[in-house]
Amino acid sequence: MKALNGKFFRRGIHTNDMKNLAKNCAIEELPASATVDLSLSQHIGKPAVPVVAVGDQVKMGQLIAEADGFVSSRIFASVSGTVAAIGPKRDERGALATFITIKNDGEYSFMPLEGEVDKTDADSLKKRIGQAGIVGLGGAAFPTAVKVSPKTPVDTLIINGAECEPYLTCDYRLMVEKTEEVVTGIRYLKTALGVDKVIVGIEKNKPDCIALFESYDDLTVVKLKERYPMGGEKQLIYCATGKKVPCGKLPSDVGCVVQNIATAYAVYEAVDKNKALYERVLTVSGSAVNERKNLLVKNGTAYKDIIAYCGGAKEDLAMIVDGGPMMGYSVVSDEFVTKKATSGILLLNQKEVSLEEPTPCISCGMCAQVCPMHLMPMDIDFYTIAGDYESADKLGGVTNCIECGACAYICPSKRAIVQNVVIAKAKLRQMKK
């Protein structure tokens, strides 16, 4: 079907997308490390509960931790070998989490998921999605099984192929190299949700992907303008369908469910290959890495192994970012490991990162001009610093913030607006309790 032109959400920012760095690197498989560390909280919700003990032999794709409750996800061994340790460790965001360490025996004996899937039955597919431990691979890591069981009826499935974060190209590579597989995954998601309409939103900077997806008649392709944060759920829904998700509501309230390209691919693998989610494609990019690559990486691989495979870091390395430069986390060490939702590892040099000290706000209003949620970020910043979190919500609208970072990107005073948003949200949650 011919691609449609998407609507355009007001505001947002335009950045140099830097995708050319890794755009043309085909997906390679990273040789597995000697050990992998698998965190039990790789997703939003409750941490998983281990079902293996130290000393157990596990196979690649074997369940090692069971989901704890509805909003949680299962964890699978990403290599075959022996469980070497189960214990608490700091993860890349500084939080304490339980990790299962598996020593790789180098045999890669594979254990498929149990049971058969009826590919035309919604419940069977939903069960398989939960069984395979699939989470949203765009970055938020929300369990997909929950997302495909919305409480309100939905009529549209939107596939997020915007990939609006600069540098990241893993979704792009999947769309180009595994088009058929991704589309199959999209069809399974469509069946699971029981919807008729599937919209694939792709930014205009990926014309080859648009052309590839246009050839499928059951998909509606929407060309999106290059604008950050086009991949934000509410922005994408608006641009793809013209519907606005009301404040404080979920996309399913306007009949939409948004899924990522990588998630669709994971669904394909779970259904057709009986393969649990234990590896994913991620982008290694940035000016401070010798070879930029798109790699198929086993979960729990240490950053240093990935960086070493990419020819090591350059001298001028200033920062390692887990995820994209806009919403990712800067990590303080290369000892940390990848998770299900790690979409990229960026090695940035001094010129690429901004480390300026914040200066006083000059009320230029640029943050309000670029805020895709039409908030007043300068007020959030001001009132959060003052400790008045209620005013930060009332006057700044902090609870509606999607933390895209457009405000902090444009701020000439380099103020840490997103940080204050996170603080205000946490404090408001505390106050509600």
């Binding site: 919403m327 986390y329 000439p412």
Partner: protein
């Protein structure tokens, strides 16, 4: 390697501009007006501008030193906003002004209006405007008289009338636009030079093109309405006095203008109207007074005119009311 890794909060990539780069852009935009002012009014004008800038910067440095900041720190944090204030203030004087008026106004603008309120970004009113109004009130005799008509015009000499406002409509528009034979302050006579600065600021995305246009148009239209829909006064009313300087460089000061889009729209229209109304009421130059007055209302604009969040619904409002 761990030792060299830096950490920051997201986003890790930021736009390249800083407060300092914005201020330098404003300075560049003020260059044409300053140069033309010096050409029209001679070396005395240059002296006034230099004196104003130097005393403004010196005041800031002395103030910060008194606050126990080291000289190194001051230089590191220097954001050029006091240079902008000094230059703007200098452009508001006529070239024959006494030196102590310039120095005292600059000291007042920086020390009292800006630094006492907390420095850059914290001032309630525009320091340059406040400095000019201070000079106007404190040294009335000096400020009102002594306007000079540029020396190459036919009727060169000192005139006592402030600006051609008193003779609205009697000057030729082109002469007004270029500032030839127009009495006035150093920076406000040549509208063409100011317009050049405006174009530069808009091109650099430092200034939204709408705001000066709104102010100037509102002022012109209100004047026309009050003169009984006499459209012959439209252009002269725009081109006379300090309207261009005020609308482009003074009123649009980030700190002392509202933050959100619609608040700004209303603010600048009201500002234009206030300028027109005050002009009708009095013969003195009113642009700075009007901006000073409107500056005081900015917090109200900020509080009551704010954007609605994306996806805002009326139903939610009703819920809140409960």
């Amino acid at each position: 390697m761990e030792n060299v890794l830096k950490a920051s909060n997201s986003p890790h990539k930021k736009a390249s501009w800083t407060t300092r780069s914005i201020m330098i852009d404003v300075l560049i935009a003020l260059l044409p007006a300053s140069i033309v002012g010096c050409v029209y009014f001679g070396w005395k004008a240059l002296l006034v501008l230099a004196l104003s800038v130097v005393s403004a910067v010196a005041t800031e440095v002395v103030y910060l030193l008194a606050c126990n900041k080291s000289f190194k720190q001051i230089i590191k944090q220097f954001d050029f906003s006091s240079v902008v204030t000094g230059l703007l203030l200098g452009l508001c004087f006529n070239s024959t002004v006494a030196w102590y008026v310039v120095v005292l106004s600059a000291v007042f603008a920086i020390a009292v209006v800006k630094m006492l309120f907390g420095g850059t970004g914290k001032n309630v009113v525009n320091p340059a405007i406040a400095g000019r109004v201070f000079a106007f009130i404190a040294f009335q005799s000096i400020m009102v008289g002594g306007y000079v008509i540029p020396n190459f015009a036919e009727n060169a000499g000192v005139v006592t009338g402030a600006t051609p406002l008193s003779a609205l409509g009697s000057m030729e528009n082109l002469k007004l636009f270029l500032g030839i034979g127009v009495a006035g302050c150093i920076g406000e006579t040549c509208k063409a030079a100011l317009l050049l600065g405006y174009i530069y600021l808009v091109a650099r995305k430092v200034l939204d093109w709408k705001w000066p246009v709104l102010t100037i148009l509102a002022c012109g239209l209100v004047t026309v309405c009050m003169r009984g829909f006499d459209f012959t006064v439209f252009l002269p009313s725009l081109l006379s006095g300090g309207l261009f300087l005020g609308a482009i460089f003074m009123a649009t000061d980030y700190v002392t203008s509202p933050k959100s889009l619609w608040a700004n729209v209303v603010y600048f229209i009201v500002l234009g109207a206030v300028i027109a109304l005050l002009r009708e009421a009095t013969n003195i130059e009113v642009v700075s007074f009007a901006i000073l007055l409107m500056n005081l209302f900015v917090p109200l604009f900020n509080r009551f005119i704010r954007p609605r969040p994306f996806g805002y619904t009326k139903a939610k409002k009703a819920k809140e009311a409960k």
